[in-house]
Symmetry: C2
Subunit: 407 residues, 2 copies
């Protein structure tokens, strides 16, 4: 699953034509493989048919979990949902649910945007104390790219280490690669979903063309199946009624729209969704984060020095051209990448607010906000690297082992 941030990498040329049928607004093309141009999230919600997360819902989450809401919720980084209230209601009644997220292992090193859904999922797991399944779609990456199977499996394990480093509870987390786990009940559920989706529907939702391979055409069922609890008999037995909540970037919505359409016919609840905005490239809205362009983003393997250099050199600034102008007019936060990145990763609400006020009013200069961001990111990346260094192959095996989870 490319729980993608605004990522495109080498695949762009290949899938250039894959657009949602309902799409077409200028400047906003969003599908599971590509995001282009400046995104109007209000329009996107309307187009996709999901709902905005309200302040009341954020408060309800705090009440239900007896925990302060993650700043991703307060700041509406996760801004849209489907059936979130049903999940909260079920949880209030003591009915179980589980979390499902994933990653398409297409590159060695994750960038910061890749971490966003995992950081948020970790918060949800801690707050709700529920089981979590994480799908590594190594099979998807072979179908979409010129990647060998062994290489895709290797990347899946490498990425698994970065994901584990986000701090997931091994007692509540089952991670799996499709190449390792497809079979049994998982394959039966893939088959059941494939049977319910026509070629016309798949083309309508995902824009597949005649030149696309037949694996791509059938793949949506493979990403859909983990939303069915009995895909994991070692966790849920044959229980078809455990609800599923999927945290992801909103470009994954088409997969789960399809899933929600199909699975009630098979006797399951529709999976609920909680969806994030895209993580911007260093170059801002016009840029694309690409694994083949190391300067388009910060990677979790970058050193403090590399981070400093990239932010100073490439992070698109909304500040004014001259010192005098900046003092007079202040920065345009709407396009300022350092400001956006701080909104993702600076936890301290007060401090963030103060920076925003000072920077937009001209009291603070671009160099100053960049210096703050460099510290925040470098500290975070260093923490991540330390955590990742602790993740041995044995720990990966333990997360990947088919076993019962606390449930």
């Amino acid at each position: 699953m490319a729980m993608a941030t605004k990522e495109t990498e080498e695949v762009v040329d290949e899938v250039e034509g894959l657009k949602l049928e309902e799409g077409g607004e200028e400047g906003t093309d969003v599908d599971p493989w590509d995001v282009k141009g400046k995104v109007d999230y209000g329009k996107l919600i309307k187009k996709f048919g999901c709902q905005a997360i309200s302040d009341e819902q954020v408060e309800r989450i705090e009440r239900v979990t007896s925990m302060k809401a993650h700043h991703f919720l307060k700041r509406k980084t996760f801004f849209a949902h489907r059936d979130l209230d049903q999940i909260l209601q079920a949880h209030e009644k003591g009915e179980p649910f589980y979390l499902y997220t994933g990653r398409g292992p297409s590159s060695e090193a994750l960038h910061l945007g890749h971490l966003v859904p995992f950081m948020f999922t970790k918060y949800l797991q801690d707050a709700f104390k529920v089981p979590l399944v994480i799908q590594l779609t190594d099979d998807e990456k072979v179908l979409w790219r010129s990647l060998g199977i062994e290489e895709a499996k290797r990347l899946a394990r490498e990425n698994a280490k970065d994901i584990i480093a986000c701090g997931f509870d091994i007692n509540r987390t089952f991670m799996f690669s499709d190449f390792e786990y497809v079979g049994g009940k998982f394959y039966e559920n893939i088959n059941s979903i494939q049977r319910c989706v026509t070629l016309n529907q798949a083309r309508g939702i995902f824009g597949f063309k005649g030149e696309d391979n037949i694996g791509k055409v059938a793949f949506p069922a493979i990403q859909a199946s983990p939303a069915l609890p009995d895909t994991f008999p070692h966790i849920f037995g044959s229980n078809k009624k455990v609800r599923c909540l999927i945290p992801c970037a909103i470009d994954q919505d088409p997969y789960f729209r399809m899933t929600r359409d199909v699975v009630p016919r098979l006797g399951y609840h529709k999976p609920a969704l909680i969806e994030s905005v895209f993580f911007p490239a260093l170059q801002g809205d016009s840029g694309k984060m690409s694994a083949s362009d190391p300067n388009s983003s910060i990677f979790v393997t970058d050193t403090r020095k590399m981070i400093k250099n990239k932010i100073n050199k490439y992070a698109f600034s909304g500040g004014q051209d001259t010192l005098e102008e900046q003092r007079e007019k202040g920065a345009n936060l709407d396009v300022d990448v350092p400001w956006k990145y701080l909104n993702f990763f600076m936890e301290d609400e007060e401090k963030l607010k103060e920076i925003g006020e000072k920077y937009s009013s001209g009291q603070m200069l671009t160099g100053e906000i960049k210096a703050i961001l460099i510290d925040v990111l470098a500290d975070m990346v260093e923490r991540h690297q330390k955590a990742r260094a602790m993740v041995t192959d044995e720990i990966v095996d333990a997360f990947l082992a088919k076993r019962p989870l606390a449930f």
Copy 2:
């Protein structure tokens, strides 16, 4: 795999439109799901691009195996091939090959036509002493029919008993149901093949339409994969160079044409094929064998009395309308179903020849040839029933167990 004889059953209406792109000759529509009208096998060979089996090849098989050729070969019941010489050459050089056949478990009871590829495969296994894999495509039957997964799996096991009753050597035979066996290297090979086949190509070969489900579109890779030896690591390890010979009815040719096109790119030999004519319905060329019409064929569960009644009542006769006319003109063997059935199942060459001469010259009457046929079929079905009664669930489990084979 519907290693189908001229079978259609309930699926006809559903796939009415599935025709080969190259098709269109009036009266001959052949694809993996349907065969209609009188088939001109000469034309079919040309259309599909396979070769006729020559008398020299039959003699070579006898020489290579030091065994009398099966009458299915002598009578050209198996009449077409692809790369048969390469298989024989490999065998002569002591290089290993394996056999692959299968069945789509769509009905409780097999009819006589279903037995034809298995009877022939048993002969090949005995003659060449090579491993055999038998695929039960329970997943296919769910995708194509309104069949539940549990029911498809049950039918797979029931059909497995009939297949085992044909006398396969347990030391050289691995049988598997897709629902049980998809996963691991099998799934990797499915993925590799799917990646090499575009939607356009699949539509061209199989005639899929927009209303078809995406599982159907991707299914050809599932039938193709067992032609790759490393789909069976417990038998062939990671050896990609073991050749594969597929005995089947010629309606399965499109699947393996696709397979042959794709697999050299993945480092495998093209699978070889040995292909049979279709088994006719009791009603002759105009009829369709259908599990929902018990009078369209003889089933392996029929009693001697039922067989007698069906043959006498429904078997289309090429004999003349009156005794006098028959004595004068003789029977038209080209359309006579009792004669065709005897050609399938009467082993004695001399006796068969004598019957053909007497019946076509008018010395023998329709009632007489039918009486002979009834004995041949009833004896064969009784033998089958006795053998099947011996096949316990434990024996089925043993054939389905992943294990090394004599190789």
